[in-house]
Structure formats: C-alpha cells, structure tokens
Amino acid sequence: MLEIVGVSAGYGGRERGRDVTAVIEDVTLRVAAGEIVGLVGESGCGKTTLARVVTGLHRPSAGAVRVAEVDVHALRGRALRAHRRQVQMVFQDPCLTLSPRQTVRQALAEPLHIHRIGDTRSRSTRVSELMDLVGLDPQVGDRRPGQLSGGQQQRVAIARALALEPRLLICDEPVTALDVSVQATVLNLLCDLRDRLEFGCLFITHDLAVISQLADRVAVMRHGRIVEQGPTGDVTTRPRHPYTRTLLAATPTMDIETKARSV
C-alpha cells in the first residue's frame, strides 16, 4: 500500500546537492493494506517530517513515496488532489486541525464538498454514517470543536480523515494529548476501524508502550534514520540496536502486574 524508498528530506533549501538541514535520511519503509506499522522516536528525530513527506505536504530531496503504486510527488494539480483521497492524516492536536468556526457536521461534510461528492441529502446521510462509525453521539453534530472533549475532537478528526475512504491513514501522535482512559478508547477505535475498513496505517508516536500493544510491525527512528524495524514482538523483546534497548529501558511501563479480577 505504502512504499517509502530511500527518502531524504530537509529544510532550508539545498546547497551542493545536500539539504542545508537534513531531517530525515535514506528512510525505507513499507506498510501493507490492513497493517498498522508503528514509527517510534523521540522529539526532533524526523517523525513528523516523514509524515509530511508521505502525505505530499513536503517534498523529499531524494527517494520516492509510492501509495498504491503511484509516486505521490510526481503528481500535480488536479491529479494530485484526486490522489489525496487515498492518503489521509490524523494530527496530534485535534483542536488545531479542526476549524473552530465549523460545527462537527460541517467539518465532516467539508471533504465531500471539496470533492463534490453527492448532493445535500446524501452528504447528510454520509455524515451521520461517519459519526456513527467513530462512535460520536448524534447530538454533538451541531457543536463546535471548542465545546467537545479532547477524545471527541480526535474522533471527529478521525471521522473526517475517513470520509473519503482512504487506503492509507497516517496518525501523527494522535493520542499524546489525551488522558490515558481516553487514549485507550481512541486506540480501540483505530483498531476496530482498521479491521472493518482494512486501510493501512502508519502510526507515529514517541511511546513504545502504546505501539507494542497496537502495531503489527515497528520501526525505530533516530536522528532521521531508521535504526531498526521488524515485527513488534521481536523489536520489543529482542531489540538488536542499542538505541532501541535504551528506549525500551527508559519507557516507563507498569512493571507490577495488577491482580487479575474481572470487574
């Protein structure tokens, strides 16, 4: 579904064939349909830049990003916009990604308007479907983002990203700003949606603990390079790269087991 091949990117233009400030270098990564791949790294390692390159918001200085066999950065204008339906993104702070002036229903109808899908009635039906899909109460439809809780905002953002039925979903720290109990429900939702809609998912986070329970495969990123990748169980139990080991050791986990008791 997603193929990232030898991608490098940076900011500040290029001098003598190199990025002035290289942020990611020679990243190669694949995400299959229906698979969740976790990308883990600390702040400033280039995770977000990679997400921007994958979605086509930032142009790589080398390498290629192919989504469903199409090179994202070779497209222009209308073709690019049409292709964008295939890749959608969920951002860290849902409050910043939703327009404060639009109600939930307006925000969810926005992608349908942009791509001129359906008429007023069918759009309204679709918006209701989407709200149902992500478990939003129909009565929040007329509220604005400011009147929603963090978890609800993120559900709206997920619903909007799924409105165009993308085949690939990029999630950039989607639960970092949420409380742990809300985080759990949003992660469950993502798992359920992946099972139902079978999109590929690149899940970017700093939290190895979250990834280990969510992703099928994990890639560990440091200083713009992927230092280790493999099936989640292998990476978290038999890390090969010393950095992965450091990261695992530093990640606070509940080492003490809670007595099993069903409530």
Partner: protein, 661 residues
C-alpha cells in the same frame, strides 16, 4: 447560565456602541430630520440661545445650530465610511494575500506595511491636503493612504499564522484548492480582528476629520463640520455655550464610544492578576451554587476528625498533613468546588503521588496549601507543614507570611518549564533570586557560587555556562532541572512537583525520575508529585492517591494500590495503561462515559455514572474513604478506598458475576 451571562455582555456591548449607532443613523437621515438648511442663515437671528424653534440656538450668522450638528455628522460619516471601506477592503486583501503567498511577496509587502505603519498618519494627511487642497475627496484620499496598513498587518499576521497550521495541512490533504482555502478558511478568521480594529478606527477617523477641519484643511465653509463649527464657535467660548460645547461633546462621544467598543471587543472584561497584594478571602465558606446541591454539601463524607488524626502514629514525621481540603471558585451567583474534602499526608523521605486525569483537581489540590492558585479561589480545611515546634498552618496565611514558607521550606516544580521561567532572564538570575530570597545569598559572587552549586546538584553539567543562558536556549529536560535547582535553593523540607516529566522524551524522563529519587533518598526530602501517568508514578512513588472528580477515591501504599486496587476507577485507569507483551491489536479495557463532573455535580459517588458495579445506593450516598478490609486501623496513609461495594473485599469477591465490561 453562560447564555444569560453572554446575553448580558452583549447588551452592555450594544449600550457602549449606542453613540456610534446614533452617529450613523443621524448621518444618514440628516436631510430628513434637520429642521433647517445648515448653510442658510438669518443674520437678524444671530447668536440666539436655545429655544423651541432652535433647540440648540443659532450661530453668529443666524444658522440653526441643531441642523448644522446633524449635517456635520453626515460629512463625518461620509468620510469615515469611505475611508473605512477602502482601508478595510484593500488592507485585508493585501495582508491576507501576502500572508498566504509567503516568500518574497510577503517580505516585500511586510516591509511596505512596516514603513506605512511607522509613518505619522496625521502628518501624511496634512501634507497631502496641503498640496491638494481641502475637500471631501482629498480628505478621503489623505486618510486612506495610510489607514489600510494596520488592517493589512493584522490580516497578514493572522493568515501567516494559520498558513502552516495543521488545520490547513488537513484541508490540503483532503484535497481543498487554493480558492476554497483562502475564501472559506483564511479570510473569515482574518476579517474578524480587522473588524474589531475597525471599531476603534472609526473614532480615529472622526477625530482626524475634525482636526483637519479645525486647522482649516478639511471641509470648506459654509458646509457644517464639527471641527469647523468649533473654530467658528471659538470667539464665543465664554458667552454662547451652545456654540462651543455641542460639537466637542459630539466628537468626544463618538470617539469615546469607538475606543470603549474596541477595547471591549479586543480584550474583553478585565480580571485581577495572579499577583496578590492583599490577604485573599480564604475564610469564605464553600457553598454549592444551587440549593439542589446544598444537600450534597451537608452529606459530605466525614473527614478524619481530630481524635482520629491524633491516633495517627505517622503524625510525628509527616512533613505535610492536609485535612479536609476544599477549593472552590466563584460560579454564577455561588461557588463551585473543584476539590472537596481531600486529606493526604507525606512523610520525610517519602514520595506521595496524586494521580488523576486532566480536570480531576489533582494539581489544584497539590498547590492549594501554598497559595499558588488564582486569587478568586477559596481554600478551606487544614494543611500543616512540619512537625513539633516548626509546625505551621498553611491555610489562611497572609502573603507576607507565605513568602517565608514558599521557597524556604517548600520548593515547587511546575509543569511546562517553557512558560514557567521568565524568558528575559538568565537561568542564573532565576536561581540567584531564589537564593537571595532565602537569605543564603550575599555578595554577587557568593550568591552565584551557591547558584552554581544548586545547578550542579540538579544534575546540570557546566553550571557556570548554564547560568548565563536564557530559558529558550535550553532543552526541556535542562529547564526542568533548572526549576529543580530553584526549588532546592531554600533547602526545603517538601518538594511539590506538578507533572515534572510530562512532555519530555522518555530517555530524559527516565533521568529526571532518577534525580527525583536521589533527592528523596540522599536529602530525605518529602515530595508530592502530581501526575497523570500511572507508569511514571509506579517507578517513583511510595504511596499513591487516586483523584477523581475533585475527591480522593483511593489511596495507600503504591504496591497495594497497583496490585490490588479496590476502587473501580483505579482499576479502569490501570486497565487503560498499555502493557508490554500484549499481542498486537489487543483491545484495551475502557471505561464508558467521560470524566468531568466536579464534586458539586453529583450527590453520590462521582464515578457512579461510569461504574460497572454501580448500585442504587451509589447515586444518592457519597462513599467515605475507608479501609477496604474491615477492622483495619483508620490511618490516613493506609490503603483506603471510597467505594460502597469495596470490590476487593474477599467476602464479596465470589458473589460478582464475571465477564468483560
């Protein structure tokens, strides 16, 4: 309730704007409502005082003063409307475009805006009219030439700020084109602050027009214009008040209304700052806002009574002993509690963690004893710092007494080190101040030596260099260490840390946790750590208090609470924490519903609406914090839980049906 308050604010705004509305209406309708022609006078009827025939009298040429006032409004309004329309349209368009396009266009336009904004507007107007002569068109030209720039600046700042925001990225990803992005998502938010600015600008333009007319450079006689009328009235200052006052009052009223409206729209109501100069009203009794909730207050779970507290063996070495702490804020007519009847204590060399989700009141509960809340917070209950002769009641201290506690006996580390350090002062200046406050300073060099020692103690390598740096030059982890150094300046008995490691990278977080543990072990410091992260807490704390809805729902030694939680909420929290070794795709067990109800919103258990074990009694009766096992000593630091059902009680464990929730 917010609706009513919003309605009242709206009415007041409308009231403030009344002179402006009147100005507009009169300006438009002047030809209809004016009793006479403002330019035609009757020389025999000059300088008549107000009378039924001439409500504002007549001027020296016998012209009706009221009619001249009304027509004066019309000229002012014409010029104001024209200038405003030109400036608003051109300014917003130029600014928004520059902000959106970015690159060299933006740099060029910004430069032009900078130059035009930094020109003295009135001088430009004078010069332009000086070379072009008076008249309405020239007035509009002279004022429009520079009036657009502030709008352009505001619109540019707004649009440029949004250009790289995730919001627009999301729209681009959805496939939105430029036209849609600019027209639907950039212009409306950019226009809003421009309109706010326009409300004050009206006053500015009216004042400019009047001033230019007064200098004889505005509208030529015999046309009536307020500034013009004031020059003509000048000789009669002392004799014919009806000539010298009404135009001045009219100009002042319009400009004043515009200023007031602009300030209202831009800044909203003023609130008092955090800085406290007088003793706050601590002793105010916490009242529930509505009678329905008054019942809840009376049925308060009984806090540990003095005899019980006296039985505490821990009392002798408890560094901080908090009993029945409540914090309330004004809400509507009454007060609403955010923390209700909390009791906790922490001993020397021990770390107590207050755990809860955002909005649970954990930070408020931790900072309340030290007077670090907003000034309108009312704190009741008791909080005693220290033991024996040094024991000190913290609630109800005056700001002066508080300054001898804070920084000396208690150090505080706040969340978000980026905003907690003054960006204009070096790290060294912060620590120096803390050292001087505690009286350990002296000569500059002496103080700085202590400062460097503290920075080293907080684990900062090369303290001399760090001391010379500004907060924004340090990483988040280093800033947090600097905060710890400041907190250590007074060699405090107690360290309060609010989310000390959140928003930091895991490797940095791990190092900070090691530092905090060392301070506890090596200096024997007591700590209250506030955190939302159970995993962090499990690495650091000795005992835990789980906070939900402004109350402690479960507390006790760390190991007991984590391995054998009693309260359903604690269990729910623990279930939501990712576990290492779980198979990919394993679902988390989740709690239904959402948090947010404060202690005054429910009569019974705050968790009842989300609880899988809820019983009828839970909704009406607030559970007391008590030992889950009957017969255990009622100590504050023992394992206690506020649940009627006490699910961990062995006798009841078998009775419950099993199954996923």
């Amino acid at each position: 309730m917010t609706g009513r308050r919003g309605g009242r604010a709206w009415t007041r705004t409308a009231l403030v704007a009344t002179p402006l509305i009147l100005f507009a209406v009169v300006g438009v309708l002047a030809p209809v409502i004016a009793p006479a022609d403002p330019t035609v006078g009757d020389l025999t009827a000059g300088l008549l005082p107000p009378s039924p025939e001439h409500p504002l009298g007549t001027d020296q040429l016998g012209r009706d003063q009221l009619s001249r006032m009304l027509y004066g409004a019309r000229i002012s309004l014409t010029v104001t409307a024209a200038v405003l329309a030109i400036a608003l349209t051109a300014g917003t368009a130029i600014g928004a475009l520059a902000g959106y396009l970015g690159g060299w266009v933006d740099r060029f336009v910004s430069r032009v805006i900078d130059v035009v904004v930094s020109l003295p507007g009135m001088l430009v107007a004078l010069a332009v009219i000086g070379v072009r002569g008076p008249g309405v068109e020239n007035l509009v030209l002279a004022l429009s030439l520079w009036s657009w720039a502030p709008y352009a600046r505001i619109a540019r700042a707004r649009v440029a700020g949004m250009r790289s925001s995730p919001h627009l990225d999301a729209l681009r990803l959805l496939g939105a084109g430029r036209g849609r992005i600019i027209g639907k998502h950039l212009l409306p938010p950019a226009l809003a602050p421009c309109l706010v600015y326009a409300s004050t600008d009206v006053g500015m333009i009216v004042l400019s027009v009047a001033t230019l007319s007064f200098l004889g450079l505005g509208v030529a006689p015999p046309h009536a214009e307020w500034g013009q009328m004031l020059i003509e009235g000048r000789p009669f200052l002392d004799s014919a008040w009806w000539l010298a006052y009404p135009p001045g009052v009219a100009i002042t009223a319009v400009v004043f209304a515009a200023n007031l409206l602009g300030e209202r729209l831009a800044a909203g109501e003023e609130r008092p700052s955090i800085l406290r100069l007088v003793r706050p009203r601590w002793s105010l009794p916490a009242r529930a806002p509505r009678p329905a909730h008054a019942a809840a207050t009376t049925k308060e779970p009984v806090a540990p009574t003095p005899p019980e507290a006296a039985r505490d063996s821990s009392e002798h070495d408890a560094v901080l002993r908090v009993r029945d702490l409540s914090v309330s804020y004004p809400d509507g007519g009454g007060r609403r509690r955010v923390v209700a009847g909390m009791s906790y204590e922490v001993r020397r060399g021990r770390i107590l963690a207050l755990v809860g989700e955002s909005g649970s009141g954990k930070t408020t509960a931790a900072l309340a004893p030290f007077g670090l809340l907003d000034p309108n917070a009312a704190v009741t209950g008791s909080a005693v710092l220290g033991t024996g002769a040094g024991a000190r009641q913290l609630v109800d201290l005056s700001p002066g007494e508080r300054r001898r506690i804070n920084g000396h006996r208690v150090g505080v580390v706040f969340q978000d080190s980026a905003s907690v350090l003054n960006p204009l002062r070096t790290i060294g200046a912060h620590v120096d101040e803390a050292v001087r406050n505690t009286g350990r300073g002296g000569h500059r060099a002496v103080t700085r030596r202590v400062t460097e020692e503290l920075l080293r103690l907080a684990g900062l390598p090369d303290p001399a260099k760090v001391a010379r740096e500004f907060p924004h030059q340090l990483s988040g982890g280093m800033r947090q260490r600097a905060q710890i150094a400041i907190a250590l300046a007074g060699e405090p008995e107690l360290l309060v840390a609010d989310e000390p490691t959140s928003a930091l990278d895991v490797t940095v977080q791990a190092q900070l946790l090691v530092l905090l543990a060392r301070l506890r072990d090596e200096l024997g410091m007591a700590m209250v750590v506030v955190s939302h992260d159970l995993a962090v807490v499990s690495r650091l704390a000795d005992s835990v208090a789980v906070v939900y809805g402004g109350r402690i729902v479960e507390s006790g030694p760390l190991a007991t609470v984590i391995t054998d939680p009693d309260h359903p909420y604690t269990r729910g929290l623990l279930d939501a924490v990712p576990r290492p070794g779980a198979a990919p795709g394993t679902r988390f067990r989740t709690m239904p519903g959402r948090a947010g109800a404060g202690p005054d919103e429910t009569e019974g258990c705050g968790f009842a609406s989300r609880c899988p074990l809820v019983a009828t009694a839970c909704v009406s009766e607030p559970p007391a914090l008590e030992a889950p096992v009957p017969g255990a000593p009622p100590r504050v630091d023992a394992h206690r839980s506020a649940c009627l059902r006490h699910p961990s009680r062995p006798a009841e464990a078998g009775e419950r049906s099993t199954g996923p929730c």
